[in-house]
Symmetry: C2
């Protein structure tokens, strides 16, 4: 028997906010099946269901145990899988919903931020072979002891691409409320343009640099197992953005998009004794308190005897970062700890940016024209980031977006001109 091609379709909360939208999603799945494909759906919780559950939790307990939060929040996706199965049943097709425990999506036991360890394909294969559309609850997992876990907010994308990888899907479609991945957040930059194709790596940097459209881990699964990911609108039939392995056509365009990450803070440790192992000790301590560090910058002075070590982190982690660093200052003999709670990060992301000279210069020039002070710079193979005062974030984003010629109203040659 020849194997029919398989597609994974993931529907986000806004695409499932009402029974009408759920039925529309069901019809999309049924059309894919009518086209001769085996179909696996991954669904999020309906609309704002998860937020409502979090709100209920807070009203019952100021500091809810994470195990119970997972028990609570996973009900949102369980509601969606059941309703989606019903909506497909209403079209005359057969469907079956599966929780993570039923399908065998195993994670470690780190409640609220669990990592997928294995996915069994037995149950899904069996149901597919019976001609059913299989509907899987996103976001959730189960540990070896049968405890219910979650993969972190927004991680239904990860469920989808991980399943697509395990099942050898030809495509993973991510249905959302936007038309695809844009050169910048269209709410902040009116001239932002939809990107037709983007490499896994560039998408990873966009996601990591603050483009909220997709979970980084989801893109990692796509990259690792080479599953093309199509991010598209659930409201239209338009083509969205294809995230895929790098192609020859992509190379010509260096800067693919710009992002803004707000609500950051910088922590500067001044006068750190520059002896081996000091930085390791500092960041081990910070990681031990689950403080996520965004970028790290170190400079030495006093003939190399002392250093200034700076890092950025979420503004929400400032209180804890301050406490941890103050203790470290006493223990290690650091002169002072300075914190700026009002910074945002503007990043330009592309492929092979280091091989295109002048990209950094273009970015700095744009910020200078906007009269915005750069507080910190970091670069990698495919991203350049500048920390700027929070109040200037959106303005910085627009100037950089324009400088790289990413907008719809730019003449077609301007992008290469900017990156020359």
């Amino acid at each position: 028997m020849s194997r029919m091609s398989l597609i994974v379709q993931k529907f986000g909360g806004t695409s499932l906010s009402t029974p009408t939208r759920i039925r529309r999603g069901a019809e999309r799945a049924v059309r894919a099946k009518a086209n001769g494909r085996r179909v696996v759906l991954v669904v999020s919780a309906m609309g704002s269901a998860t937020d409502q559950l979090v709100d209920l939790a807070r009203q019952c307990c100021l500091d809810p145990p994470k195990r119970e939060l997972d028990m609570l929040l996973t009900t949102g996706e369980q509601v969606s899988i059941a309703l989606m199965a019903m909506a497909i049943h209403a079209t005359g097709q057969e469907a079956i919903s599966l929780t993570a425990a039923q399908l065998g999506l195993y994670t470690n036991s780190a409640h609220t931020r669990a990592r997928i360890q294995s996915i069994s394909r037995d149950r899904i294969d069996r149901e597919l072979s019976h001609g059913k559309v299989v509907i899987v609850a996103g976001f959730q997992g189960v540990d070896a002891g049968g405890e219910i876990t979650t993969l972190g907010r927004g991680a239904s994308d990860t469920t989808a691409t991980a399943l697509a990888a395990v099942l050898g899907a030809e495509l993973c479609e991510i249905y959302t409320d936007v038309d695809g991945v844009f050169t910048a957040d269209p709410r902040l930059v009116p001239g932002a343009r939809k990107i037709d194709e983007i490499s896994y790596d560039a998408m990873l940097e966009l996601a990591g640099a603050g483009a909220g459209i997709m979970h980084s881990r989801a893109v990692e699964f796509g990259k690792k197992y080479d599953v093309p990911i199509h991010v598209r609108s659930s409201l239209t039939e338009e083509r969205g953005t294809m995230i895929m392995a790098e192609t020859a056509g992509m190379e010509a365009i260096s800067v693919r998009g710009v992002t803004l990450k707000e609500d950051l803070a910088t922590v500067s440790l001044i006068g750190v004794p520059n002896t081996p192992g000091v930085a390791a000790r500092i960041f081990a301590e910070i990681a031990g308190h689950n403080i996520l560090v965004d970028d790290i910058v170190q400079n030495i002075y006093d003939g190399g005897t002392h250093a200034t070590i700076g890092f950025s982190t979420d503004a929400s982690a400032v209180a804890e970062a301050r406490a941890v660093c103050s203790r470290l200052a006493d223990q290690i003999g650091i002169e002072s700890v300075e914190i700026d709670e009002d910074v945002s990060k503007v990043s330009a992301v592309g492929v092979g940016m280091r091989t295109h000279t002048g990209i950094a210069a273009t970015m700095f020039d744009a910020l200078a024209k906007a009269e915005i002070n750069i507080e910190n710079i970091s670069t990698s193979e495919i991203v350049i980031s500048c920390l700027v005062p929070r109040k200037d974030g959106t303005k910085a984003l627009r100037y950089v977006h324009d400088a790289f010629g990413l907008g719809v109203d730019q003449p077609s040659g301007s992008n290469s001109a900017a990156t020359a």
Copy 2:
């Protein structure tokens, strides 16, 4: 180590309709624990959550598959167990929530009306031995294949008494929004009085005869394993109604309560050939269509060659009952099928009613005084029921309640007088 006594507390939907009420329930459980007891809670879905889920289901599919309905509806109780665990955590006590799958509450595979087959006590015992309050999702089960099942609407009571039986609890408390079991529905009979103690058997008849306060199967578990059940209000500290094995004190009072079951219909099969096996064939066919039959009455005529067979059923089943009986009429040679869709059933329930002469006469006399026509009579060891026109239901209930002297304003001797 001496074993602490164990109590099962069950909270219904109205007792969990808001975070404030959930916290109040948590405090009650913590008080029971502070009194030296091991505590197992069983919770229903919050307030009208189940109705809202059913409504969502209907908007997605007119005839939702039962498996998916169970998948959907069990989320209501899962929300409640998580929130209750959080609320107990907020008091400083430890608690853990368990789904049916996690605790090992196994049922058969009859979705939406599954029967409990076994309950494992291993996980509960382990958590209790760690000093935790254990919170179990009511209403749900899991079959041998890991499919999620439900025990039928209102069956969280059954979960509670079944757990109490398996765990050897000294008491099962059912917290609800009424003060206990009443001699009649207080909304219909203003003079209705709370019953302090009632036997399992009388309670079973009350439940079966339409008193909505408790699921019959829940009382059956209490009876079979002799677990006293205390039905009481979650809003007060007042004693409610104790359902327990019959005691000497109960024998003096014959009629314990009266009930009204509305929305019934009678189906009369007239001119049925009175040959062996005919009734069996008729009711096998009716049962095969899942039409619940309430009471059956048969009379013979024409020198025993023909019979009239009548039965009552829910008004909602009339259309199907009519179709089934019409087919049977053709096949067996029944003269006609007559249906009355507008009847209600008034029942008087007590212990050993047959040994008290005059009870039936008192009931018929009360209905005669009320000028209500009796359409049908059925009696058992502890119940007498009369079918009356639906419009006369409440009036009949009040007259019968008064005739047996069950009201609060009756002189204390009137009950025995009525039953003499």
